[in-house]
């Protein structure tokens, strides 16, 4: 039996050992001993071999050998040793460089790991490149989807999904709320994760009348069924329907849409009134092989015309001009996060650039200090290449040490940055040790090394070319321009950060029109069967509002079909009795289904007429309340009260009186303009997903469990989808801007500090070099104040040059921020002024220390010293 040590270990040992008999002999010995050990344990033998290899490498690096020092291979080792000795000789300098550079690399690695993780995370489809969302921003009706499915040929599979919450009845009689997704089986099988236990949803499951089935999520299976494989084939009660468990979905598998833990077949009865009416299905298709996006586009475009004729209400013209759109199914999530994250990556890259320039500058300074050493070496015959190599290796050793710090910082920072994006469920970080992240780390490290080494090398070569040895003065111009570049980059970051600060300030001061403090939103998803009979629905709604309103600490409670700032906006076209219009041309407005208490809970005031009341309890809407913006938009100066409008596209001539006008509140997009709104009674048009809005007397944690209990007491098959304070909802609405702002501010401050350090270093050196000149000036009667002023001024000049360049760059570069900004533009002058002032202040502070040192120079001593 013959064993061989791992090839790669052998290669390393071979590399570190000298060529010829000595190396071959040693390698042979290692192999022989490995054989002996491998006969007992292969693993231990490999471990032993690795240890021996490490010792050989370590000895080669630390002791080197003079015998073969003629080839570059060991020249480099010599340079590495030399560089390490320099590190040990000036540990403070090395520590500073490694820490600063390591943090610069670390922030890049951390942000990249978030970018990478998030992009990877956004797709729950098996083939994200070929999985298309059809009208991704819209919801289809089930009937429309079925019609298109029968006609199309562009997709290998096409289907729909919708999400909701359900109540599972446990064996002990209690019920628990679980988010679930209804999905057509064909589409389920296109998910990237498929059930490891049991089976996937099958086409046969999606027929009317067959036994309902469910696939459980792994986490739900563990939490509620004790991870019992025996659950397969058993029947569970899901929101009142008995369903047979056919599979358990893989751990960590994501449902389309987010965090669902149950999957059911999406089925609908064509005889159902809502078959074509209820638009709540997201349609997704996986392209057939050979079909391009353009083909799919052409096909759906033709279908579009037919749909527009059949379902005019679906195509209200102010929705992207009625144009069809097809895009990758994961596009919206990607777009959501790509701008902020890429922006952040750009920011960290700028910071790294500033850092590398700064450290390069320090190395240049050191090279100038060591000019004698270098000149001597050049004089005794060390070639230009030899010295350049040494400079490269020195920078390389520092960079290599920094990589360790960088990877560690990245490993800690990535998950932390990811956790900051509370508003975006898809943001996550991938491991620092995964391929793409390591590759990225390698690339930025290489980039940093090029700059780090490039600064002294270019300078040295220039000095060589001009036939001069390195002289102190020859470095000053280079050093100053490098510092100016740093100031320019810092300006870019400062401008960006200031824009975001202004944006967050503006977002925070948006008047919502209601107090978010002490306002609790509880999202509920009553089972469908509670809504089919309007008497049952009415009983449920009344029960919920009354029971919760009676709880201690609760001042008022109301139901709405939509959580403010969160839920999906329902829009309704408006037809005026006085001036009938075609559905396609009709204006439309967000449609709020609320119980009468809503106005009071939200703090809205009645402007005219009356609010919705207990009399508005018909089977279809009988009264409408509008807000001031809508009143103004539709009726102008006239009073809307008493006007009659139709708001249901399916009952286009059913006119309902407007009974009142209320003040505006903002419940849609926090960054949008004034919102028109119309309110109808929820009781008159029940809706599947409702939210209890609860005004409490204080933010007392005990009210939440009390509300949950109250809901369960009213109907324990009404699942609670989510509970949140409106304060959190508001924060989540601008959390991305908030996080980006925080991180950019941190980057800008760091860049400014680094820029200031650069100015400080340049001026210190300047003062040291021009000691004599200063001494002469002071001997001739210059006041210390003048000397101080001139030094500070020269620092300020460097900063101003940087600010000028940086501001121009920012004016163009900051446009990538546009989509994140709110009520502030990249052209706002005060933003630039503020950034310039901040940087100038930093420059003055940085210049002050060397300047005052210059001012205190005793002229007599300086001159005597020369």
């Amino acid at each position: 039996m013959s064993f061989r040590p791992p090839r790669w270990l052998e290669r390393i040992a071979e590399w570190a050992l000298p060529a010829g008999l000595s190396g071959q002999g040693a390698l042979g010995d290692l192999t022989e001993e490995f054989q002996r050990r491998a006969a007992e344990s292969g693993f231990r033998a490999t471990a032993w071999y690795a240890k021996q290899t490490a010792s050989i490498v370590a000895y080669r690096i630390l002791t080197g050998s003079g015998a073969d020092s003629q080839d570059t291979h060991s020249d480099i080792l010599m340079d590495v040793r030399w560089a390490f000795r320099l590190v040990l000789k000036h540990p403070g300098f090395a520590l500073g460089v490694v820490a600063v550079l390591g943090l610069g690399l670390g922030t890049n690695v951390a942000v990249f790991s978030v970018v990478d993780g998030t992009f990877r995370n956004t797709s729950w489809w098996g083939e994200p490149d070929r999985t298309m969302g059809l009208w991704p921003e819209r919801y289809w009706s089930f009937g429309m989807m079925e019609m298109y499915r029968d006609e199309q040929s562009a997709y290998r599979s096409i289907g729909g999904w919708r999400e909701s919450a359900y109540a599972i009845r446990m064996p002990d009689g209690t019920s628990t709320s679980v988010n679930g997704v209804e999905i057509t089986p064909e589409l389920f099988r296109e998910l990237s994760a498929q059930p490891p236990l049991g089976r996937a949803l099958d086409d046969d499951d999606a027929f009317l009348g067959v036994e309902p089935v469910v696939v459980l999520g792994e986490s739900l299976w563990r939490r509620s069924f004790g991870a019992d494989p025996g659950v397969l084939g058993s029947v569970v009660d899901v929101s009142g329907t008995s369903m047979r468990v056919v599979g358990v979905q893989a751990a960590g598998a994501k449902a389309p849409g987010g965090r669902a833990e149950m999957w059911f077949p999406l089925i609908m009865d064509p005889r159902d009134d809502d078959y074509f009416r209820q638009t709540d299905v997201k349609v997704v298709g996986v392209l057939a092989s050979g079909v391009t996006t353009d083909d799919a586009w052409t096909e759906v475009d033709a279908f579009n015309d037919r749909l527009a004729r059949l379902f005019p209400s679906f195509f209200t013209p102010d929705w992207d001009d009625g144009l069809v759109r097809i895009a990758r199914a994961d596009e919206s999530q990607r777009r959501l996060i790509s701008t902020p994250l890429l922006l952040l990556l750009g920011g960290t890259a700028l910071l790294l650039l500033v850092t590398a320039l700064n450290v390069g500058n320090l190395l240049l300074g050191r090279a100038i200090e060591r000019r004698r050493e270098l000149a001597v070496r050049a004089a005794i015959g060390a070639g230009r290449g030899r010295i350049v190599q040494q400079l490269l290796v020195e920078a390389g050793v520092l960079t290599a040490l920094a990589v360790g710090v960088g990877l560690y910082a990245g490993a800690l920072g990535g998950p932390w940055i990811g956790s900051l994006f509370v508003g975006e469920a898809v943001v996550t970080s991938s491991s620092v040790l995964s391929g793409p992240v390591l590759l990225f780390a390698l690339a930025v490290t290489f980039g940093a090394w090029v700059i780090l080494a490039g600064v002294p090398v270019v300078h040295f070569l220039r000095a060589q070319r001009t036939g001069l040895t390195l002289r102190p003065h020859s470095g000053v111009a280079v050093q100053r321009s490098l510092v100016a570049v740093q100031a320019a980059l810092a300006t870019l970051l400062l401008v960006s950060a200031t824009l975001l600060v202004a944006t967050v300030g503006n977002l925070r001061s948006v008047p919502l029109g209601y107090e978010t403090e002490n306002l609790l939103a509880v999202e509920l998803s009553p089972p469908e069967d509670r809504l089919t009979d309007s008497t049952v629905a009415r009983g449920l709604y009344d029960g919920l509002v009354e029971r919760v309103a009676a709880l201690p600490g609760v001042e008022g409670a109301a139901l709405t079909a939509r959580t403010p700032l969160r839920g999906r906006v329902l829009r309704a076209p408006i037809n005026l009795e006085a001036d009938p219009v075609d559905q396609v041309q009709a204006p439309n407005a967000p449609w709020h289904k609320v119980t009468p208490e809503y106005f009071e809970v939200m703090g809205m005031e009645l402007v005219e007429g009356r609010l919705l009341g207990s009399e508005d309890r018909g089977r279809i809407p009988t009264a409408v309340v509008v807000n001031e913006t809508l009143a103004e938009q539709v009726w102008g100066d006239q009073s809307p009260v008493g006007q009659r409008i139709a708001i249901d596209p399916h009952m286009w001539s059913w006119f309902v009186p407007v009974v009142g006008v209320v003040t505006d509140i903002r419940t849609g997009d926090i960054t949008g303009g004034a919102e028109p709104a119309l309110y109808v009674s929820l009781v008159e048009s029940p809706f599947k997903d409702v939210t209890l809005m609860i005004r409490t007397s204080n933010v007392d944690g005990s009210v939440v469990p009390a509300v949950r209990r109250a809901v369960a007491e009213v109907d324990d098959m009404v699942p609670v989808r989510a509970v949140m304070w409106m304060d959190e909802v508001v924060r989540a609405a601008y959390s991305t801007s908030w996080v980006i702002m925080g991180l950019l501010v941190a980057l800008a401050v760091l860049a400014t500090v680094l820029g200031a350090i650069g100015i400080y270093a340049a001026l210190s050196q300047h003062v040291a070099i021009t000691r004599k000149e200063i001494g002469v000036r002071m001997a001739l009667g210059a006041e210390p104040g003048e000397v101080v002023g001139s030094v500070v001024r020269s620092g300020l000049l460097i900063a101003l040059a940087g600010i000028a360049v940086g501001s121009v760059a920012a004016a163009f570069g900051a446009r990538v921020l546009d989509s994140l900004l709110f009520e502030v533009s990249t052209g706002t002058p005060w933003v630039y002024a503020a950034s310039a002032v901040a940087l100038c202040l930093a420059a003055v502070v940085a210049g002050w220390v060397p300047a005052s040192r210059a001012g205190r120079l005793p002229p007599a001593e300086v001159l005597r010293g020369e």
């Binding site: 000595s22 002999g25 040693a26 022989e32 054989q35 050989i56 490498v57 000895y59 002791t63």
Partner: protein
Amino acid sequence: MSQDYLGEFEQMVLLSIMRLGTDAYGLGIKDELESTAGRSPSSGALYTTLDRLERKGLLESYAGDASSERGGRPRRYVKLTPAGQEMLARSRHTLLALWDGLEGALDR
């Protein structure tokens, strides 16, 4: 002057080579050091030392047969050069001179 000085480990290695005679190659030396001197040097230390001693001209090496259990690589046998033998003798002499009269001093 440094040419005259032998480190402790260098001395041990040279002595092991002499003890092994014609059988002295890397692994053999390592085993000898382990069994007789109770030292188990790392490969890096041992091979670096062998190279250094050869560079100093204290030992010379020659190739033995290659075998498959060695991955087709030859053994590197080493033997002391006259200079090496002289160096070892001098070293012994110096040590013995220093020890002279102290033999009993550590036995208590």
